[in-house]
Symmetry: C2
Subunit: 231 residues, 2 copies
Amino acid sequence: MPHHRHVEQHASSPEIVRDIVIGMSDGLTVPFALAAGLSGAIANPRIVVLAGIAEIAAGSIAMGLGGYLAARTDEEHYQSELQREIDETRDMPEEEVAEVRKVFQGWGLTDQEIDPIAGTICSDEKRWVDFMMKFELGLEEPDPRRALYSAATIAASYIVGGLIPLSPYMMTGSVTEGLAWSVGVTIIALFVFGYLKGRFTGTKPLKGAVQTTVIGGVAAATAFWLARMFR
Amino acid sequence: MPHHRHVEQHASSPEIVRDIVIGMSDGLTVPFALAAGLSGAIANPRIVVLAGIAEIAAGSIAMGLGGYLAARTDEEHYQSELQREIDETRDMPEEEVAEVRKVFQGWGLTDQEIDPIAGTICSDEKRWVDFMMKFELGLEEPDPRRALYSAATIAASYIVGGLIPLSPYMMTGSVTEGLAWSVGVTIIALFVFGYLKGRFTGTKPLKGAVQTTVIGGVAAATAFWLARMFR
């Protein structure tokens, strides 16, 4: 039954996995590339570590707090549009019924076929407003509690991801040695992470692994080359 | 006519504005916070500039290339799900008709009312498959050409945003002076940007301005404090 396999596949990538993927792919990539870039221009691994820590703090806060506030704004936007639709079904019901009919006309139904449907949908205010929110405005009700968990998961994943490329620089006195270990460890981490990301999100794991590694590699090489130039 | 005002409001925030907002809010925030953080621990403004340039390169590539590849993966995912739905309407039409009926049952329609609707929708393969994609899977067809423009816009906005907090460090010999100007310039830029973002995306401009500024400020203060601690 391909259908049921499909449904399960969707169920196996819940939102927490998506949040970990979002936080960790940036967390592995950007601090890695920053540290590699600085290694092309600076001889002191302590400075690389300092910059990496500052980046991890900045990036995790921008993603976490930024994501949280954006989600709260979405929630407020949803609520104000919802109130507007409720008001409209009361103040100009004919126009709102016409909007419902228009959705079904778009699916090729005749006016005769639409009559009972529009009647049923518009007979219940909640159903009517829900229908308008989804089909006229394309808005799904956001979950405000999830916004906080989501922001915290993304920020934590960014921090965990960022500490992987940074840790070699913390354990060595030489930037060259730190860079070599950081490149090795991070390329493995990017590959494994991309593979798992592919598995959990339903795309081809190997392809995910190669993509994630290429993005990290291109970002690091560009940062390295630019920092050399401006050194 | 609140309805029409509403539609116009949606039309006034096209995807390019959304992309500029995505790139620039991170571009203004993260390089700003990184530079401010390093200023708490390092006396040489050239190193702050180097780290900032490496960060801008890393961040813009991670967001741009990462976003582009993610969009291409979405496109492939859509196409493979589309093919699966086409196959399913051919291989097990009864189950697929039942899925269509289920959507309408969820809106409170009786079986009698559903009969003509399901008949009309399932009489045309394209319409049937489109309906399943949208209502069973909740997938909208992605635009592959837009993915490239979108990635380029996000990356360019990140670079432009990132050069604003960084430029004061380029023009001074002292980190303290660079920091003071960078904080001043960037807080104004975050405020103006947040205000415009609010106007263009339909939320309250002043609220957007305060949020954007607070995120940048918290990120910068945390990075500064952390870099001081690990100095």
